[in-house]
Structures are given as C-alpha cells and as structure tokens.
C-alpha cells in the first residue's frame, strides 16, 4: 500500500527526513514512533501529498505521491497533527463538504456521513458549530473526515494527542475497529498505544529509521529481558536471596520485606527464563509462594535503547 524509497526532505540545510525506505502492506497497522522533531510529521505530509520530497520517491496504492498526486490522494485519508478544521461550519456540513470534495457520489452522501458520524460518536454534536466543540470532539471530527470517503490508507498524525484518558480509549477502539477495512499508518509518542494497536513499528530518529519490526520482535531483538518477581514467605530473606542467586539463569537478585513475606526482584540472564527452576526451588525449600511473575519488556525500554544509542 505504501512504498517509500530513499525519501529525503530538507528544510534549508536541515535534513528532516534522511533517505528512508520502508513498505507497508495492505491491511497493516504501522506505528510511526519517534521523539519530537524526528521527521514523523514530515514523512506523513509527503505521503499525504502535501509536501514535495527533496529527493527519493513515495508511492501510495501504486501511485507516485508527487507525479500522480491527485490519483494518490484519492486513496488517502489524512488527519494532520493539529486537526485543522473550519470553525464556522457545523459538523455535518463540514463532513458533507469534505465528502463531496473527496468524490463521494451524491447518492451515497447521506449513508457515508451518517456512518462516520456514528462510528466516531458524533451523533449528538452533528448540528453544532465546530468552533464550539471540545478538543476530543474536534479530534473525532478530524478522524471522521479522514475516513468519510472510505480511503484504502489512513494516515493519522498523533490521533490521540491532547485527549483525556477516556477519549484516548475511544479513539483507540475506533482505530482498532478500522483495521478490518483500512491500512493505517499512525504516528504517536505514546508507546503503549503502539503496542496495543500496531502490527509493526517504525522507530525514526533524526530523520533516519532506527528500527522497523513488530513490537514483539523488537523486544526480542534487543535482548532486554523482563524482570521476575517472586514473593514467598522465607525464614531468612538474605539467605534465600543467596540461594536464588545460585540458580542457573539468574543474574542478580534484590530482596525486600513485606511483613512476613519477602519480595525478590530477579534479573534473569539474557535469553534465560529461570521461572520453572525458581518454582522447583521454592517447593524443595518449602517456601509458601504468593507470586511468581515476569514483567513484559515495554516498548518504552526498546525505544529508549534505540533512540539513545545514537546519542551516546
């Protein structure tokens, strides 16, 4: 659906995007991740046909976004970063206008506008003037606009920025439901969002792609193992910690007390999972167990790793 080859964009002497390559297949949700100023928005603007690339090329649905811009744009629903809207229009007016502009035929107008109003939960504000809407509603109007013409590809630039947690959940659910019919490229710097929504992640920093993989693979590839928590009632926490340290696959242990219980935080050796051995040891030593769990590596760690490696 998207094909980007050696795409570069310079603003004067500054390289905002530096010869990036990637592809997005039909039906994927791809997360575009990076610190502020990494080049996420610039790349999306180029894909949406708003900015010309300095060099390199990009294709959407087989159409070059620069030389066949009009054709490419027909396939794209784009939600820009700050959700620009006309404050003087009413919600349903705006959506009708946008739908007509994007070539929704008159006979399908009511159906399409009705659909996106319902999908985005805008039914109760459809007659309101956009200038009077809250941020959350404006965001949803922007989303409704992006998908009113049933585009093959949705490009969403930070769709959940500035929303409260409830609204964020609503928008996320909405995006997840869209997965069935659309290919989605979304940018964000909220990492859990990417883990929840995306099948693949592109981490971009200073205009270059630092990593491109599924969230699971990214975690595995970096070899950052999650910590293990063990809670048991032991006679002597220090002695127990020393015993645990001797188990194969354990790198280090710290212990702290919680009443009669001791909580051990265990850092496993890279690639190792000593949970079974831990359980067996606890049984053999007759320690009553309250918890044995392993935290998942968050993408946050991966992200920090990838974007900081460059700086150090």
């Amino acid at each position: 659906m998207i094909k980007v080859e050696q795409l570069t964009k310079c603003y004067g002497p500054v390289k905002a995007v530096d010869s990036i390559d990637f592809e997005v297949a039909k039906g994927e949700i791809v997360g575009f991740l990076g610190p502020n100023g990494a080049g996420k928005s610039t790349t999306m603007k180029i894909l949406a046909g708003f900015l010309p690339p300095t060099s390199g090329r990009a294709e959407v649905a087989g159409r070059d976004v620069f030389s066949e811009s009009l054709r490419a744009r027909e396939h794209i629903g784009y939600l820009p970063e700050n959700v620009p809207l006309y404050p003087d229009m009413r919600v349903h007016e705006y959506l009708r206008y946008r739908a007509a502009l994007k070539g929704v035929p008159g006979r399908r107008m009511n159906e399409r506008v009705g659909d996106v109003l319902e999908l985005c939960g805008l039914g109760d504000v459809e007659k309101k003037i956009i200038g009077r809407l809250s941020k959350g509603y404006r965001q949803r109007v922007g989303l409704a606009d992006a998908m009113v013409h049933e585009p093959d590809l949705l490009i969403l630039d930070e769709p959940t920025i500035g929303l409260d947690p409830n609204q964020i959940r609503l928008v996320r659910d909405l995006i997840r439901n869209l997965k069935r019919h659309h290919t989605i490229l979304l940018s964000t710097h909220i990492l859990p969002e990417v883990e929840m929504l995306c099948s693949r992640v592109i981490i971009i920093n200073k205009g270059r792609i630092e990593a491109l993989d599924s969230p699971q693979n990214l975690r595995a590839r970096l070899g950052v193992a999650g910590q293990i928590f063990l809670e048991a009632r032991v006679p002597d926490a220090k002695a127990a910690a020393a015993e645990i340290r001797r188990i194969a696959g354990v790198d280090s242990v710290t212990a702290r007390a919680d009443g009669a219980w001791a909580i051990f935080t265990i850092q496993p050796a890279p690639g190792a999972d000593p949970r079974e051995a831990l359980y067996e040891h606890a049984v053999a030593a007759k320690w009553p167990l309250r918890e044995l769990s392993r935290s998942a590596v968050s993408l946050e760690q991966v992200f920090a790793e990838v974007t900081h490696a460059e700086e150090n």
Binding site: P52, M89, A100, K102
Partner: protein, 251 residues
C-alpha cells in the same frame, strides 16, 4: 466541475459566515446611501445633463467605498486558510490547485457583487418617487454595472494575490489596499501633471477607472477598458496561481 462547485459553495459560505461580512455590508450600505443622497442633492442643484445613475457612480464617496472594500473582502481568502492550517486538509484532498484558486477568486467576487444588489433599489426608489428616469437609457445601467463587474474582477484578483502572498490577513489587506490605490491614482495622473503630453493622457485614460466609469455610466461603450480589465484580471489570476503553487511547494 463538481469539486469546483463544492469549493465555491464553501467559499461563498465562509464569506458570509464571518462577522466582518456584515460589518462591511452595513458600512457599505451606509456609504452608498449617503452617496445616493449626495447624488440627489447634486441633481437638485444643477439642472443639467447628468442622470441619477451618472451622479451615483461618479462621486468621491462612491470611489472611497469602492477602493476600500476589496482589501476587506479578499484579505482572508488564502491567508486565513494558511493560518488555520486547513490548507493542509484542503490540499491533501484530491483537488487541483487551479480549482482552489478559481473557487476562492469567484467566492470573493460573488460577495463583492452581492454588495451592489441594494444599489438597484436606490434607482427603483428614485424612479418611483420622482417619476423620472434614473438613467438616460438602459445602456447607462448596463454600462455602469458592467464596469462595476469589470473593475471588480480586476481588483478582486489583486486582493487575492495579496492574500496568497502572506499568512497574515492584515498584511494582505495593506498590500491589496496599496496596490489598488496605486492603480487608482495612476488613473488620475493627468490631474496631477496638467502639463503632461498626450502620451501620459492616453496612458491615464487607458488605466483610469474614474474615466471608464464616467463613460460607461453615460452609456458609452468602449472596448479598450473591457480588454484592459479582462486581460489584467487573467494576468493577476495567473500570478495568484503561481504564487499559490510556489508557496505550497517550497514550504
């Protein structure tokens, strides 16, 4: 074509959806009412050859309101879109640059034409009250109003150009006002240079809206101003198109 009409509908709508539109309409009506009064007074004093239509379209008040109104109508057309950021949603929809430029231009022109609709009422009232003809002949109306449209087309294009040049509406208004005023006074050059030769007089006549309006509101039809305004409008619109494209692609 459908996309163009959609864009045009939006432009006309947005022209009337702002408070400034009604401020402009109100004061324009006020000044043209005063202008009508002045015209009637003039006719009362000088029992001469002028008609009401001529008197109405050739006063200082008329020209004052006329040159002032274009910057106010056109300053927002491009500048506001850039300021709001909606240029991004607009230009990522499958619309051509030319469609956008023409829709914006004709939207502004439409608003300008609406401003003149009430003026027809004055002539109707004049004829009704005085039982005299407001114009010497139908050609007088036709001439005056077609000149209104022609000069309006040109000056609206200048205003659009100013608005396309900047993101700031006030700056756009100032540029448009300066440009229109410069052209307007160029047409009065022979007044300032009484000793100038025939070349200056000829040139002055060619660009002078005052002169053109004087002739046309008497029902004198001259193709030179028609060609001048139509070609100038096209030229300026072409410049608007180029500026719009340039600013979009260089950002």
């Amino acid at each position: 074509m459908r996309r163009f009409l959609t864009l045009l509908g939006r432009e006309v709508g947005s022209a009337f959806h702002q408070p400034l539109a009604y401020v402009v309409l109100f004061f324009f009506l006020l000044i043209s009412g005063f202008n009508f009064h002045a015209g009637v007074t003039l006719l009362n004093k000088s029992a001469g050859s002028t008609t009401m239509v001529e008197a109405f379209f050739n006063t200082v008040y008329f020209w004052f309101a006329f040159v002032l109104v274009f910057p106010l109508i056109t300053m927002r057309v491009f500048a506001e879109e850039v300021k709001l950021g909606t240029i991004e949603t607009l230009m990522t929809a499958p619309v051509r640059d030319g469609q956008v430029v023409f829709a914006k231009y004709f939207g502004a022109l439409f608003f300008y034409l609406v401003l003149w609709v009430p003026s027809l009422l004055y002539f109707f009232v004049f004829q009704w009250i005085t039982a005299m003809s407001a114009a010497g002949a139908a050609g007088s109306y036709l001439g005056a109003y077609s000149m209104l449209v022609l000069i309006g087309m040109f000056y609206t294009a200048i205003g659009c150009l100013a608005s396309a040049l900047t993101d700031n509406q006030i700056v756009a208004a100032v540029i448009a006002f300066a440009g229109i005023l410069a052209l307007f006074f160029l047409g009065l050059l022979s007044l300032f240079l009484p000793g100038a030769g025939p070349f200056v007089r000829e040139l002055t006549y060619y660009v002078s809206p005052v002169q053109h309006m004087m002739d046309f509101s008497r029902g004198i039809f001259d193709t030179r101003p028609v060609v001048f305004y139509l070609s100038s409008t096209l030229l300026v619109l072409f410049a608007v198109f180029q500026v719009f494209k340039y600013r979009r692609w260089k950002s």
